[in-house]
C-alpha cells in the first residue's frame, strides 16, 4: 500500500502504478440541486506516464484534477497517489502531499504565481524548507528556468512576461520540487499552436529527466500527440479515447 513504485497500491491495482483511482464519484450541492461531476471513474497512471484528459466544458475534468491535487475531497471511491490515500488523508499529510508529490499548473497560470516576486524567486518559493543549501536551490531553479527558456528572464516579475512565458514559469514552479505527478489544467489553452508545441516539447524533455508523470487536461486534440494515453470524460464518466486521439507510447512526440 505504501510503496507504489513497483508494488500495487491495493488489491487489484496495476503494478508500477503511480496513481490509482477506483469508483471515484464526486458531486456538488445537495438534494434537487445536486450535480454529479464524476461518476464511478476507474483510472491508473503509471510512473512517468503522460496522460491527456479531454472532455467538454463541465464534464468533470477540472474536478478530477482538483481531487488528484488534494484540493477537493471526493464524495466516494478511492484515490491513491504515490501511497497517499486521498480519500482518507489528513490535513498535514495532504499539505505534505501537495508540497512534495504533485505539481499543479492552473488554467490561468498567473493564479499560481506570486506576482510581486521575480521568476527566479517564484521557482525558489516551493523549494524553501526542503533542506538543501541556498546555492543548491538557486542552481536547481536556474537550471529549471534555463530548460524552459526563461534563463534571460530570471529577474522579471510575472506581469512583465508574455502569456507563453508566464505559462512556462508556471510549469517551472510546478516542477520545482521534482514532484512525482504534474497536473496541468488547460496548459495550452491561451497559446497558439506553434508556441504550445514548443512548450509541450520543452516540458516533455524536463518530465523525462525528472521521471515525473503528468496529467494534462485539455480541449486541444493535438496535445494528444505529446502524451502516452488519452482519456475522455463525458458527463462524469471516463472512457478511453478513440484511436486517433490516443496514439500510445509509440506515437508520443517528446
Amino acid at each position: 500500500m505504501t510503496d507504489v513504485f513497483g508494488q500495487p497500491a491495493f488489491p487489484g491495482a496495476m503494478p508500477g502504478a503511480l496513481a490509482e483511482i477506483r469508483e471515484l464519484s464526486h458531486s456538488y450541492g445537495n438534494g434537487p440541486n445536486q450535480v454529479e461531476a464524476l461518476r464511478h471513474v476507474d483510472l491508473d497512471v503509471l510512473i512517468g506516464e503522460r496522460l491527456a484528459v479531454m472532455g467538454r466544458s463541465g464534464s468533470g475534468k477540472t474536478t478530477l484534477l482538483n481531487i488528484l491535487a488534494g484540493l477537493e475531497k471526493p464524495t466516494s471511491g478511492r484515490v491513491v497517489v504515490a501511497g497517499h490515500d486521498l480519500t482518507r488523508i489528513g490535513r498535514r499529510s495532504r499539505e505534505a502531499y501537495r508540497r512534495r508529490t504533485i505539481g499543479y499548473v492552473w488554467q490561468q497560470s498567473e493564479a499560481g504565481l506570486l506576482m510581486g516576486l521575480t521568476a527566479l524567486q517564484n521557482v525558489l518559493v516551493p523549494m524553501l524548507g526542503d533542506g538543501s543549501s541556498q546555492l543548491a536551490r538557486i542552481d536547481a531553479a536556474v537550471g529549471l528556468l534555463d530548460a524552459l527558456r526563461l534563463g534571460d528572464w530570471l529577474y522579471y516579475t510575472p506581469d512583465q512576461l508574455t502569456p507563453a512565458e508566464m505559462q512556462r514559469l508556471a510549469v517551472a514552479v510546478a516542477l520545482a520540487n521534482r514532484p512525482n505527478l504534474l497536473l496541468a489544467d488547460e496548459l495550452t489553452a491561451r497559446l497558439d499552436w506553434p508556441t504550445a508545441r514548443e512548450l509541450l516539447g520543452d516540458m516533455g524533455a524536463l518530465l523525462g529527466n525528472l521521471g515525473t508523470a503528468a496529467i494534462i487536461v485539455t480541449h486541444d486534440p493535438r496535445v494528444a500527440r505529446y502524451v502516452d494515453r488519452t482519456i475522455v470524460i463525458r458527463d462524469g464518466i471516463a472512457t478511453a479515447a478513440a484511436g486517433e486521439l490516443a496514439p500510445g507510447p509509440q506515437g508520443r512526440q517528446w
Partner: protein, 699 residues
C-alpha cells in the same frame, strides 16, 4: 566544442553565484511590501496605535508631576515661629517640632531651615570711629541661619564655623547689604539697640561677605539680601543675653518635597498637614502655611484630569486596535491571493501563518521607533513652548509604567495581527472551496444582542456618576477605582457595537439614480460589509466630540489658573489624542473604501463593459460613504456627549463656556466632515481608462 560548453558552464555558475537567494523572512517581507501604499498605510496606523496608549499616560504623568512641583514650589512651605529666650529653649523648640513633623508626615515634609533673629541693631562705630550717616540711619537684624554655607557663595573672607564661641564675635553679612552700608571686610562694628545712642552695647568683627546661590531658594524665609548680620549659634545667643528690644524669634521652616510626595496621595499628605498644624498650634507659636488647601485643590483637579486622560487613553487604545484590525484585514485581503498560492502549493497553514505574520510583525517593529519618536517629539515640543509641563519631573516609575503600557499594547497589536494572519492563512486559492458565506442573522437575534449590549453599555457609561460608586471608589482597593474610571470607555464600545447591530445604513441612500440604486442594493444585500468602518468612525467621532467638549467646557478656569500644568496636560492630551484618533479613523475609512471601490470595479466589470459609467460607479461608492459618514456623525456625536458627561471634569457651565463648547464642537464636526469628504473622495477614485476585463489592469 568542449571550450564552448565550459564557457557556458562558467557563465551559468556566475549567474547562480550572483543570484540573490530567497529565505522565508525575505519572502514575508516581499509579500508585505508588495503593495507599498498599503504597507505604508498600515505602518502609519500601527505607529499611531502604538504611540497613543503610551503618549497619553506619559502626558498625564508629566502634567501631574509638573503640577505637583508647581504647587509645592508655590505653597510647599510650613513655617513655625516661637519666641525663645536662650539656646536651650531654641534647641528644645527645634527638637519638639522636628519630632512632631516627622511623626505626622513621615518623609513628606523635610526640614529646610532653622533660624533665629533679634533686632534691631544700629551701627554706632565702625573701626572705632563714629559711623557715617549711611550705616547709622539703618536698622539691622542679627540672625543665626542654620546650614548657611550650603545656600550661599562667599565673596570675601569666610563663614565662621557654627557653635564657635569665645574671643571676638565674628559676623558675616550679604555683600549687597555691606555695599549699602559701606562696610568692609575686617571692620569692627559696634551696635546699640536704639538709634542715635553714643555708647555701643555690642561689637563684632565682619569676617565674610556672601551672596545667595539662588534668590528663589525656599530656604530664604525673608529676602536674603536684607540688612542682616549672621553669626554662629553660640554668638547669637550671647547677643540675646544683651536683651535687645525685640526678643529672639526662632523659625523652623519645612518643605514638602515633590520627590517625597506621591501625587496620588496628595490628599493624604494634606490631611496629615492639617492634623500637624492643629497639633503644633499653641498660644506662643505661630504657623504659616497654605500647604494643605493647595494639596487638596491639586488632588481634586489631578483626579479629574487623570481620570479624563486615562479614559481618553483607553478609548484611544481600543480605537487603535479596531483601526489596525480593519486596516490589517483589508491589507491581508490584498495579500490573500499570495497566501492562498502558498497553501495550494502545500505549505502547511502554520508556515503560511508565520509568513503572513512575519510581514505584519516586521511592519509593526518598523512602526515602533516611529511611534516612540513621534511621542518624544511631541513631549519635547510641549515642554519647549512653555506649557509648564516638563519631562524633568518624571520619576523612574512613571517611565517604567508608560513603557509597560506600550509593551502591553504592542503585544496586543501583535496578537491581533496574529489572529488576522491566522484567518488569512486558512483561505483557499479557489474561493468556491471555502466554507459558504454565513447567512445574515434574523432581526430578532440581532435586536436581542443589541439590547443586551446596549443595557450593559449604558450601565458602564453611567457607572462613575452613580451615587453609590463614589463611596466604592474611596474604600475600594487600588486597581478598582482606576478600573471604575475606565468603565465609560467599555460602555462606549458596547453601545457602539449595539448600535452597529441594528443601525440601518441604507437610510441615507435614495435609489432614484443609477448610483443610488447600486449603493442601495449593496447596503441591502450585505449591510455588514461596512459595519467595521461604521464602528470605527462612530468611535472616532465620539472621541472627537468628547475632546471638543473637554476643551470647551473643561475644569473651571480659576482652578486651572492655579494648576497650569494640569490644565495644559488635559488640553494637550485631548488635542493630540483627537488629532491622532481622527487621523487613524480617517485612514481606516479611506482604506476600507479604497478596497470597496476596487471590489465594486470587479463586481460591476460586466456592467462597465456594457456602458455603466465609471462616474456612476464612483458616485455609488460615494453614497455608501455618505451613509457611513452621516451615521457616524449622528451616532458618534450622541455617544461622545454621553461619554463627556460621564467622564469629564465638567464645570458648572456658564453662558460663555457653553458658547465656547458649542463652537469647539461645531468646528470639530465640520473639520471631521470635511476630512471625511476628502478622504472619501481620494479613496473611491478609480482610473477612467482601467479595463475591467484585464486582470493586469485592475485599479
Amino acid at each position: 566544442m568542449n571550450a564552448v560548453r565550459a564557457e557556458a558552464n562558467r557563465a551559468r555558475d556566475a549567474r547562480v553565484a550572483e543570484a540573490p537567494g530567497l529565505t522565508r523572512a525575505k519572502l514575508a517581507w516581499l509579500l508585505a511590501t508588495r503593495r507599498p501604499g498599503w504597507a505604508v498605510a498600515l505602518w502609519l496606523c500601527l505607529a499611531g496605535a502604538i504611540a497613543m496608549p503610551a503618549l497619553l499616560p506619559l502626558l498625564d504623568a508629566m502634567a501631574v508631576r509638573s503640577g505637583l512641583a508647581q504647587t509645592l514650589a508655590r505653597d510647599g512651605a510650613l513655617t513655625v515661629e516661637q519666641n525663645v529666650s536662650d539656646l536651650n529653649t531654641f534647641n528644645k523648640f527645634e527638637r519638639d517640632v522636628d519630632g512632631r513633623v516627622a511623626g505626622r508626615t513621615g518623609s513628606a515634609l523635610v526640614p529646610l531651615a532653622a533660624n533665629a533673629t533679634v533686632g534691631p541693631l544700629h551701627v554706632v562705630t565702625v573701626g572705632g570711629a563714629p559711623a557715617g550717616p549711611a550705616p547709622a540711619q539703618q536698622a539691622l537684624t542679627a540672625a543665626y541661619l542654620d546650614h548657611l554655607a550650603s545656600h550661599v557663595t562667599v565673596d570675601a573672607g569666610s563663614l565662621p564655623p557654627d557653635a564657635l564661641g569665645g574671643g571676638e564675635t565674628a559676623v558675616t553679612m550679604p555683600q549687597a547689604a555691606a555695599d549699602r552700608l559701606g562696610l568692609r571686610l575686617s571692620d569692627r562694628v559696634c551696635f546699640d539697640f536704639t538709634g542715635g545712642a553714643a555708647t555701643p552695647r555690642w561689637c563684632a568683627r565682619i569676617v565674610g561677605f556672601w551672596q545667595p546661590l539662588d534668590l528663589k531658594d525656599p530656604y530664604w524665609g525673608q529676602p536674603p539680601n536684607s540688612l542682616q548680620l549672621t553669626m554662629g549659634r553660640f554668638d547669637f545667643f550671647e547677643l540675646v543675653k544683651q536683651h535687645p528690644p525685640q526678643g529672639p524669634t526662632a523659625r523652623l521652616r519645612y518643605w514638602a518635597s515633590s520627590d517625597a510626595v506621591d501625587p496620588g496621595k496628595a490628599a493624604v499628605v494634606a490631611d496629615q498637614v492639617r492634623r500637624l498644624t492643629a497639633e503644633l498650634k499653641t498660644p506662643d507659636r505661630r504657623l504659616t502655611t497654605s500647604l494643605a488647601p493647595s494639596l487638596e485643590s491639586f488632588h481634586t483637579l489631578q483626579v479629574q484630569v487623570s481620570t479624563a486622560i486615562h479614559l481618553f487613553a483607553a478609548a484611544m487604545t481600543l480605537l487603535g486596535l479596531f483601526v489596525v484590525a480593519l486596516v490589517g484585514a483589508r491589507f491581508l485581503d490584498r495579500e490573500a491571493h499570495e497566501l492562498a498560492v502558498l497553501r495550494a502549493r502545500g505549505w502547511p497553514s502554520g508556515r503560511v501563518w508565520r509568513t503572513a505574520f512575519s510581514g505584519l510583525a516586521a511592519l509593526t517593529l518598523c512602526a515602533l521607533p516611529v511611534g516612540v519618536a513621534g511621542g518624544l517629539l511631541f513631549v519635547a515640543v510641549l515642554s519647549l513652548i512653555g506649557s509648564g509641563i516638563s519631562p524633568g519631573w518624571l520619576h523612574q516609575e512613571d517611565v517604567t509604567g508608560v513603557a509597560a503600557a506600550m509593551v502591553a499594547n504592542l503585544v496586543g497589536l501583535l496578537a491581533l495581527l496574529g489572529l488576522l494572519a491566522a484567518g488569512a492563512a486558512r483561505r483557499e486559492l479557489d474561493p468556491s472551496l471555502e466554507a459558504p458565506f454565513r447567512s445574515a442573522r434574523a432581526w430578532w437575534r440581532r435586536a436581542g444582542t443589541a439590547l443586551i449590549l446596549g443595557l450593559a453599555g449604558m450601565t458602564e457609561l453611567a457607572l462613575p456618576r452613580l451615587p453609590w460608586t463614589s463611596g466604592l471608589v474611596q474604600h475600594a482597593p487600588d486597581p478598582l477605582p482606576a478600573l471604575l474610571g475606565l468603565a465609560p470607555t467599555v460602555g462606549l464600545i458596547l453601545l457602539t457595537a449595539a448600535i452597529v447591530q441594528l443601525w440601518p445604513l441604507g437610510w441615507a441612500v435614495q435609489p432614484s439614480s443609477v448610483a443610488g440604486a447600486l449603493a442601495g442594493w449593496q447596503l441591502k444585500r450585505s449591510p455588514e460589509q461596512h459595519a467595521a468602518a461604521t464602528f470605527v468612525m462612530i468611535l472616532a467621532v465620539a472621541i472627537g466630540v468628547f475632546a471638543a467638549i473637554g476643551l470647551g467646557l473643561g475644569p473651571e478656569p480659576q482652578v486651572t489658573s492655579h494648576q497650569p500644568a494640569l490644565g495644559a496636560g488635559l488640553g494637550a492630551g485631548l488635542l493630540v489624542g483627537t488629532v491622532i484618533a481622527l487621523a487613524l479613523a480617517l485612514a481606516a475609512f479611506g482604506l476600507h473604501f479604497r478596497s470597496a471601490a476596487r471590489r465594486r470595479f470587479q463586481e460591476y466589470s460586466g456592467m462597465l463593459a456594457h456602458g455603466l459609467a465609471i462616474a456612476d460607479l464612483t458616485r455609488s461608492v460615494a453614497k455608501e460613504q455618505a451613509s457611513v459618514t452621516m451615521s457616524a456623525l449622528v451616532v458618534g456625536s450622541l455617544l461622545g456627549l454621553a461619554l463627556a458627561v460621564a467622564g469629564l471634569p465638567l464645570a458648572r457651565p456658564t453662558g460663555l463656556a457653553l458658547q465656547l463648547a458649542a463652537a469647539s464642537l461645531a468646528s470639530a464636526l465640520v473639520c471631521l466632515l470635511l476630512a471625511m469628504l476628502i478622504a472619501g473622495s481620494v479613496a473611491r477614485r478609480l482610473p477612467i481608462h482601467a479595463n475591467p476585463f484585464d486582470s493586469q489592469g485592475q485599479p
